[in-house]
Symmetry: C2
Subunit: 107 residues, 2 copies
C-alpha cells in the first residue's frame, strides 16, 4: 500500500478542538503551568476577551480544562487549569503531528 495513505488519514483525523490555533495556544500555556489567569492568558495570546472566553468555554465543554472562579480582594479572578484529558489530548495531537511531518530537508 502507498505510504501516503496512512499519513492522509492522520491529517484528516486531527482533533479539531486542539487543532484550532487559538485553542492550541491556550492549551500550550496551560500545559506549562499549574494554573493560569484569564488576563495573563489574554495578554500573552493577544486574543480579545470575547474570543478567549469562547475558546476557553469550548475547551471546558470538551473536558480539556477547568475554570476556577475566585476573588483577589473584591475583584473577580478567573483561572484555568488543564485537565488530565486535556493534557492527553495535547500529547496525542503532538504525536499525530510528528507522525505526519516529513523529516527536515526531505523532498
Amino acid at each position: 500500500m502507498s505510504p501516503l495513505k496512512p499519513d492522509l488519514h492522520a491529517i484528516l483525523d486531527l482533533d479539531r478542538i486542539v487543532h484550532e490555533p487559538a485553542r492550541l495556544a491556550i492549551l500550550t500555556v496551560l500545559a506549562a503551568a499549574e494554573s493560569v489567569e484569564f488576563l495573563f492568558l489574554q495578554r500573552i495570546t493577544g486574543l480579545s476577551k470575547g474570543n478567549l472566553s469562547s475558546h476557553t468555554q469550548k475547551l471546558e465543554a470538551a473536558g480539556f480544562l477547568e475554570t476556577l472562579k475566585a476573588f483577589r480582594g473584591r475583584i473577580p479572578v478567573t483561572s484555568f487549569q488543564i485537565t488530565e484529558d486535556g493534557r492527553a489530548a495535547l500529547h496525542a495531537y503532538h504525536k499525530q503531528l510528528r507522525a505526519l511531518l516529513p523529516k527536515e530537508g526531505q523532498p
Copy 2:
C-alpha cells in the same frame, strides 16, 4: 523574556489556508506527484466532490495550485498541480510546526 511567547505567536500565525486538514491533505498529495486527477484525489482523501472542489478552488485562489482541464476520450478530466508558491507554503508550514512541536517525551 519567556521562552513560551515566540512559540505562541508561531502557533497563532500559522497559515490558515494550509492549516485546514482537508487542504493540508490535498497539498501533501500534490507535493508528492507531478499532477493529480480530481477523482484520484477524491478517493484517497475521502472528501466529497463538493468539498474537494471548494478546497481546490480556495487553494487555486491562494495561488498554491493550478487546475488543468483536459479530456480523456470525450470525458472531462480535471488535474491539479502544486505551484512553487504552494510548495513554499507547505514547507514553511512544516517548518513552523517543527518549531513549535516539543521534542518527543518532553514535559
